[in-house]
Subunit: 155 residues, 2 copies
DNA sequence: TGAAATTAAATCGTGCGCGATTAAATAGGG
DNA sequence: CCCTATTTAATCGCGCACGATTTAATTTCA
């Protein structure tokens, strides 16, 4: 009686068409987002993930690698090389904590702190590029946060 | 009189806090999405971008590299190595068109076509993982498509 | 206290994305 | 017809993401 196909007894038989997929809309919007940010961040000498790390550190300096990772949902395999590149640019310093040598604490240099002023115009420019109203942006952001939480639940 | 700060005369002074950012919600949701898909796609022997290419070819076989690129908003620098890996797996074939030797046409093998049946349950499982209703998914998808279009406009 | 378990970061390998360049084929204009 | 411009794919280099493993430091608890 059910029209559920044999290959997926518990899931609805949904489309395999590209343009129907939420996942592709998400994926392609993120790719577009990164491209949109590039010229702005090039002026700061940052990549997009580096910009995210800087936002975390501008909020609270001296975080450990794992603390940064918890904020960004990234692990040390991604962060360690990224942080080393920022260190090589003189934007931050990595130092093992004296009280626990397993931990690496990351602190901004003067140059890294100063970069915050240069970045201040970035969010506004980005909002303009989205062509959305502030209310739309807020709604979309919160919907994506909920989606992220749900996606990480099962995984 | 204006409270617009001196560093961004034409843009609103928006937050640099991570959790306020639409961009981070988008970025982190996409990372979570890819992780969620991995175990499902591992069974098919595909990565997530490879799965997208397959969806394009299941809809219309024999597309050129640029046509696939237009659908996915990717260029040959990304697609050529990806397609070579799928070719090495015997999932598709790449052949220069006789009528125009610049063009490479991509066609599915029997194995590639058969993979569509194995993939049929993927969208349903993915929907379940999102924890969203179909209406929410449709609304979010369409909002992201609009966002993507806007982001690609200026860039 | 000393062996085992846990934790933190680093390392390794693979596969994207993409800016930039290159190579080759075709189209178009004089 | 040739020379230039355009188009298509491939190539190169770099920086992520991340699964998996490794190394080293700390904690646990028998």
């Amino acid at each position: 009686m059910s029209n559920t196909p044999p290959y997926a007894p518990d899931a609805p038989a949904l489309s395999l068409k590209l343009d129907d997929q939420l996942c592709f809309a998400l994926y392609s919007a993120t790719n577009a987002l990164k491209k949109m940010y590039r010229p702005m961040l090039d002026r700061l000498g940052l990549t997009y993930p580096q910009y995210l790390v800087m936002m975390v550190l501008w909020e609270r300096d001296g975080m450990t690698v794992s603390e940064i990772g918890e904020k960004l949902f990234l692990d040390s395999a991604t962060l360690t090389p990224l942080l080393k590149r920022l260190e090589a640019q003189g934007i931050l310093e990595r130092k093992r904590a004296a009280e626990d040598e397993r931990v690496v604490r990351v602190s901004l240099t003067a140059k890294g702190k100063a970069l915050k002023d240069d970045a201040a115009s970035v969010p506004g420019e980005a909002v303009t590029a989205t062509g959305c109203t502030p209310d739309e942006l807020t709604a979309l952001r919160d919907a994506l946060k909920r989606l992220r939480t749900d996606l990480m639940k099962t995984g």
